[in-house]
């Protein structure tokens, strides 16, 4: 199920958080927060995208740097909150 979400989230991250001229290759396992591709301020807009796109609410306590560090971990987080919704 998480595999269905990953291409969408990855495409969004590439579009919004990588420079348009970047030659950086990222995958669903690329570390986003640790590497600085997404910082703590930018996490706010990413969280908002996820909440809108998947009709979920992610409490701030769950929006940790670890949970947002890869597209894989983000997809797992979304699944968890979809199940609760």
């Amino acid at each position: 199920m998480a595999d269905d979400l990953k291409p969408t989230i990855l495409a969004y991250v590439k579009k919004e958080y990588l420079d348009e001229d970047s030659d950086e290759e990222i995958t669903t396992g690329t570390r986003l927060i640790s590497s600085g591709i997404v910082d703590s301020f930018s996490m706010v807009s990413l969280k908002r995208f996820l909440e809108k796109k998947y009709a979920i609410q992610i409490p701030d306590a769950d929006a940790s740097p670890e949970a947002f560090d890869t597209v894989d971990s983000i997809a797992s987080l979304v699944i968890r909150f979809q199940a609760k919704a």
Binding site: E16, R31, S35, G36, F41, S42, F49, D69
Partner: protein, 566 residues
């Protein structure tokens, strides 16, 4: 015993010559900061001592001795000369926290150019504004950020050279050159530029309420204050392992992330990775950090994670903790005593002051929540906002003011003499911050005296955000204000009136947020957007931000007699 000794004793007979004597400042006609950060330490027989230990997010570690940073900065200086750069040229460093940023900064100073570090998360509009204002001649950057520089280059006629430090196989365009610091030949000897004490050294941009960001210009003799405040406030000892978490795109990251520690000859460590409590504690443990200079936002994020991650690490080497960037709340000081067995010491200063002005010192009683007392040799007070006379009654709120003349005071705003002069009234430099002084001489921060937003310790100008918002096709008018935030102190909130035909919904909100994030920076991105039919204005048509700000902070909105639509 701390490096400073007793604060009361130091205040009594202080003279900046203490610093000059320790540095042997000016011996042989040498005033250049770069010499004191590298060659002088090597001349003292410490060339083999680790100067810099860097760890990337993937765990990759690089170590540089003082001799390494000496010869690498020589090589950078020589390379810049070979590119035709001359003393006084502005050379921008636009990189993440990689070794080339720190050592490149020293290289720029060595050949006499003015170092202009800029935060690498800046979007192209924020970058353009600052490069255009400074007529920057060269930018040192990486592949990751090259695209932003390329897209604005055609509108920057002064920008002659772009230096890419990790070009590898990437094809470069005319005017771009590759420089591989670690692959380049070591340059043992370089004729360091004979800067005078008043020769410009560093240009840091800072935000104001109105107009574009302003470039605060510093000079080489700022070292006198940066060296001694690093030694006394950060309590640097020869064997310390020092960690400053600030990015050199901002003034803390250069004054105390490069100049202070290296002029003191200590080993400094840098973690180039995004924040997480686990990573930070693990890094401090592995590097055996003894002195830690961080920011209230980071401390509050660590508090949020609780005691569990603290207890999983051996942080017993930590000896002295200092904080800067925004007021350190009393709870954070108390928590730090519980978590680390010692308090964080708050310190206060600004881009314009170049070095720490007010602080809590090792050995001095801390009043949690207080900024502390002025550094010896610094005459600081709070003045009445109308008369600019020092307030006499303890506890009275006024503007923090400092008697001009300390060594690291900024000497100009680049191309903006009028605004520079306006910062001085009645013989005082006005910081733009409000505070009170208690009966024991401790300063207590109250807030800004203007509309500048302090988010996570960084000042963001509302005008720059509003100007960028107007470039969004849906925005008719806007106002940006600071909104309270439990972690970052303030975050940006935008009030927006839309043009006809646009619908206020979640998609538009996200689009505007991302628009600003990419144009300016993640710090400037509104974390909250409120769509309004119109904005409160004076009769002359000026948007009254203070009304909106007061609304966010639950404060009295004050006199609104000039409000147009009241």
């Amino acid at each position: 015993m701390s490096s400073m000794g007793l604060y009361e004793d130091r205040v009594k007979d202080f003279d900046w010559s203490i610093s000059e004597q320790e540095l042997e400042y000016g011996a042989g006609g040498m005033y250049n900061i770069a010499f004191y950060c590298t060659d002088r330490i090597c001349q003292k027989g410490l060339g083999g001592k680790p100067a810099f230990i860097w760890e990337g997010f993937s765990g990759h570690v690089k170590q540089f001795t003082y001799d390494d940073i000496r010869v690498h900065s020589n090589a950078i200086a020589q390379f810049l000369q070979n590119q035709g750069l001359e003393p006084g040229d502005r050379v921008c460093l636009f990189m993440d926290r990689i070794p080339e940023l720190y050592i490149g900064f020293v290289g720029v100073l060595k050949m006499g150019a003015i170092a202009q570090p800029l935060f690498s998360a800046f979007g192209e509009e924020a970058l353009f504004t600052r490069l255009e204002d400074a007529s920057t001649k060269a930018v040192i950057t990486t592949r990751k950020h090259l695209g932003k520089v390329r897209r604005i280059r055609k509108d920057l006629p002064a920008l002659a050279t772009i230096i890419v430090v990790d070009a590898g196989e990437k094809s470069l365009e005319p005017g771009e050159v590759a420089f591989d610091m670690e692959g380049a030949a070591r340059v043992e000897d370089f004729d360091i530029y004979k800067a005078g004490p008043e020769t410009p050294s560093v240009l840091h941009y800072t935000s104001g309420t109105t107009g574009k960001p302003k470039g605060a210009l510093h000079v080489h003799s700022s070292l006198i204050a940066q060296y001694l405040t690093a030694k006394w406030v950060l309590d640097m000892h020869p064997d310390d392992v020092y960690w400053c978490t600030a990015d050199p795109g901002w003034v803390t990251g250069t004054s105390y992330g490069i100049i202070g520690p290296w002029a003191n000859g200590v080993t400094q460590v840098v973690l180039d990775a995004g924040f997480s409590a686990q990573n930070w504690y693990s890094f401090a443990e592995r590097m055996k950090v003894t002195v830690w200079y961080s920011a209230p936002t980071a401390i509050r994020l660590l508090m949020k994670e609780g005691m569990d991650p603290v207890q999983k690490h051996d942080l017993s080497t930590l000896r002295h903790l200092v904080s800067v960037g925004e007021p350190l709340n009393a709870e954070a000081v108390i928590w730090s005593e519980k978590a680390f067995g010692r308090p964080f010491h708050d310190s206060f200063w600004q881009t314009e002051t170049g070095s720490i002005m007010i602080s809590n010192y090792p050995g001095m009683r801390i009043k949690p929540g207080s900024m502390g007392k002025p550094f010896p040799g610094i005459t600081a007070t709070v003045v009445n906002p109308k008369t600019f006379e020092p307030v006499q009654t303890p506890g009275t709120v006024g503007l923090i003011a400092i008697k001009p003349g300390w060594p690291s005071m900024f000497r100009a705003y680049w191309n903006n003499e009028q605004i520079y002069n306006a910062k001085f009234k009645n013989g005082w430099y006005l910081s733009g911050d409000r505070a009170s002084i208690d009966g024991d001489g401790y300063f207590w921060f109250v807030g800004r005296d203007d509309d500048v937003i302090n988010t996570a310790g960084h000042l963001v100008g509302p005008f720059e955000i509003e100007s960028a918002l107007l470039e969004h096709p849906a925005v008719a008018e806007s106002a940006a204000v600071g909104k309270p935030d439990p972690i970052n102190m303030e975050v940006v909130k935008a009030f927006i009136a839309l043009k006809p035909g646009y619908v206020a919904d979640d998609d538009l909100t996200m689009d505007i947020m991302n628009f600003i994030r990419k144009k300016l920076s993640p710090l400037a991105m509104p974390q909250d957007i409120e769509f309004v039919p119109s904005l409160p204005k004076t009769r002359s048509g000026k948007i009254m931000r203070r009304v909106l700000r007061a609304q966010e902070w639950g404060e009295d909105i004050g006199d609104v007699s000039t409000l147009e639509n009241e």
